[in-house]
Symmetry: C3
């Protein structure tokens, strides 16, 4: 990373942007708007957020196409976030350094471990484990028997991969995540005792998935719990047995999904959302943070609330909720007024003894 | 597991079911409906779920008593889930293999460790720890000083058992769970600084409890936090100091219970439920997922919502919630109509200048 | 701890209380009301909780100033919780025992490690790590390269401190907590693929912070995620990238805060609360358990609900919510009654064919 210098013109090509200013400018890194300095490129995603371009101390800036008045060097792009992600990745990427298997790691029998790996001290690898090329296992990682790990996988400290689980290529799993714990499955007998149902399936994580710290993904009762290509899962998420998450999904922190629930591709599930078991979310479903979903959702649905309803409706319902005390009062007044009108319409009746309608 | 073959008649006896077909049929394993093949037994819990018996490729099937038209071999039972749990357990159970204490484990002073245990490499056991017979400690497990672990306990990778905590017999604790972290207890001084209250109690886990991955159970301030016999706790659950959970409870993932809350037996608490401190749930209370409970609940209560109300009422209230925007509109119209009626009833008055009631 | 005996008069001075009874009484420890025995001091925080002073078996008792009728020895104080915290801390505090670096720990290159530390077996310390005086690292702790740990810090089993993160003095972090995992930041391309944005910032934890078991605090995208002095965080909490928590805050279990959200000092956030990204909570904000906050909150705000509204309003709104089904019925009846009145006011019209208004 240190010392890497790239011409602005090259970065423009990388992000398919439009160059403003000096193509020969040498860029040495990426920084955020407030801290960018000499030689660094920074970005503004949205001028409305209040950044003032003339306050930028960096040498170049990535801006949305809409920005036209630029004094220094810049790259104009459709999606600044995407451009900065690509450029930043270029600067921070480091060549894989194969350190092999540290002598203080513990490795079982009949494993397949290429020469090009980096296995830290205090790692535990069971029997018949298959590791791909350039796998990095940090200290405290435990890989159980018969697990299969793809190429270029990084498992951070204290990650657990359960017996027989399969991890694809370029998967990143953060510290403390548990892949392949038993599903929560019991049968209750006549005395109210819960008998454990054996959980003999596995977890399969496909290519390019990232999984957050202390997230738990349970193994299937039978078959597999499955997270498909490109999906990104935040910290402290819970996926029950036999859950299937489609491709390119985003699951924000502390989401919980009960057993056998499945999703299409490109779903976005907000933080702390809970999903019941045995339901299906169609492609591109979006669920607002803290919602509770108990039913299937059509592709493209945008929902919120407990239980979840269409998001537009929820916005109005929750606004009305805050005014419920007023509504209760108005209802009381209205009832009174109607009763008065009613009495006024039926002369004499309102004077009858004992009438308190 | 491999190679085990059991006569269908024996399985019938095990589950106290009714035999249909060939008692001598040899069964070699259990599978789910879609993947069951030659020699395997499978099950349908409920014909309404759409399984069609004639599509079954397994050699035998477990069905509810209600099913009478069966072409092949089968076991008819009252509770198929229970039967399959019993039969499956029979097939997957393996004899305990005592591997002793691995040389790469770390064991403190004055511990009691029977010969018949399986202590993995990279396990840490403190001083004066007492292990029961046939205890299995997976890599990364940390058992602090003075802890007591019962017979036939399995602690998966990276589980922590805090100082002085007591774990019963046949307890299973999944990876990353933390038993005996300090309770969240502070006293706030006049400057708003929070002074830590020492947490000197322990956690006691009774027989046949199962605890999910990355679940946290805090030690008591004084005395004990206590999970009683047969209770099953899912992943990422939080139990505060001095919580007491009765027997045979089910706590689904991401439940949180504040300090000193207690429950009777056979409670069922849905995913992501939050419970306030110092309350009591009676026997057989059921709480719907995502609810928030702040008050004591009578035995047998079934509740939902934040704050929780009777479940039946919640179903109707939440349905009404979705229609609140309509209700607001109707209320407005009704007010208008009543005002009109009112004006009509008091002739002359509605023509007064400035009257807009 | 064992054997420590302190005169009651000394304890009175420590907590600036009023002595009742024998100043020379020797106290040997603290216990809760029900279990306190000979030589122990106990407390009642609030007489309304039902404790009866005459049932106390302890040798002395800490009581609120309001309590005047006391038969035995006692300390009268303004805040019993605070007094018992101070006194209890005095009894349980033990001198730091420097055991040095265990030979079964793994330590990288160019670290600064004082002689006065206690580094357990199976600890992993990366390169260029700086440890303060009297640091205690429990088994399974992983400290990545370039981290800085202050004086008198205790990291319990399996805690992870990410690369370059900074931990202040007297910080306590409980088992399984992950400090410095990558923030959840992606840019989505035109095909719906999520490109990882490098997370190159750090986490900074200031003095006297305590962090609960399995809590996750993500590193900043740029700059730092920051928890300021004296803040206490419970178990299973999630703090996103670039979050800033002010001083002396309390975050109860399972709170989740999205990226770039910041708070003032002395905020109190209840269990399972979720906070959206890029918002600010003023000083002394209090948020009820299970709430969802999407907007800035003024200093001193007390809020509840999803979305959060003023707590007083929420109490009335949630009470009304439970009665929504009644309200729906009343609305229907009222509409009917108004329609009847309306018909009665316009004679003849209600008999028109097809009129069902």
């Amino acid at each position: 990373m240190a010392g890497k210098k790239i011409r602005l013109a090259e970065l423009v090509v990388l992000v398919q942007g439009e160059l403003v200013g000096d193509p020969e400018l040498l860029i040495s890194g990426v920084a955020d708007f407030d801290s960018a300095g000499e030689g660094e490129i920074t970005f503004v995603a949205d001028l409305k957020r209040g950044a003032r371009l003339d306050e930028c101390k960096g040498s170049a800036i990535i801006v949305p196409l809409a920005v036209t008045e630029i004094s220094g060097s810049a790259i104009r792009v459709k999606n600044p976030y995407l451009a900065v992600a690509r450029i930043h990745a270029l600067f921070v990427e480091e060549p894989f350094v194969a350190t092999g298997v540290d002598a203080r790691a513990v490795v079982g029998d009949d494993c397949h471990i290429p020469a090009e790996v980096a296995i830290s001290p205090l790692v535990f690898i069971g029997n018949r484990v298959h590791l791909g090329q350039r796998v990095t296992l940090h200290p405290g990682v435990v890989v159980y028997d018969d697990a299969v790990i793809g190429d270029d996988v990084v498992l951070y400290a204290n990650v657990t991969i359960g017996r027989g689980c399969r991890i694809g290529n370029r998967v990143i799993i953060h510290s403390g995540a548990v892949i392949g714990s038993d599903g929560f499955g019991y049968a209750t007998d006549g005395n109210g005792h819960h008998l454990k149902r054996p959980q003999v399936g596995v977890v399969q994580i496909d290519d390019d998935v990232e999984i957050g710290a202390n997230t738990c993904i349970d193994r299937a009762t039978f078959g597999r719990t499955w997270v498909k290509r490109g999906t990104k899962i935040d910290n402290l998420v819970q996926l029950g047995h036999n859950v299937v998450i489609g491709e390119d999904a985003l699951l924000v922190a502390q989401v919980g999904m009960a057993g056998s629930t499945t999703t299409g591709n490109n779903v976005v599930i907000g933080g702390q959302v809970g999903l019941g078991g045995h339901i299906h979310l169609g492609d591109r479903v979006m669920i607002a943070a803290k919602s509770g979903v108990h039913n299937n959702l059509e592709p493209g649905s945008i929902v919120a609330g407990i239980p979840a309803i269409p998001h537009k409706n929820w916005l109005r319902a929750s606004a009305a909720y805050a005014k419920l005390p007023d509504m209760v009062r108005e209802m009381r007044e209205l009832k009174k007024k109607v009763a008065e009108l009613s009495r006024a319409m039926t002369p004499g009746r309102d004077d009858s003894p004992g009438n308190d309608a």
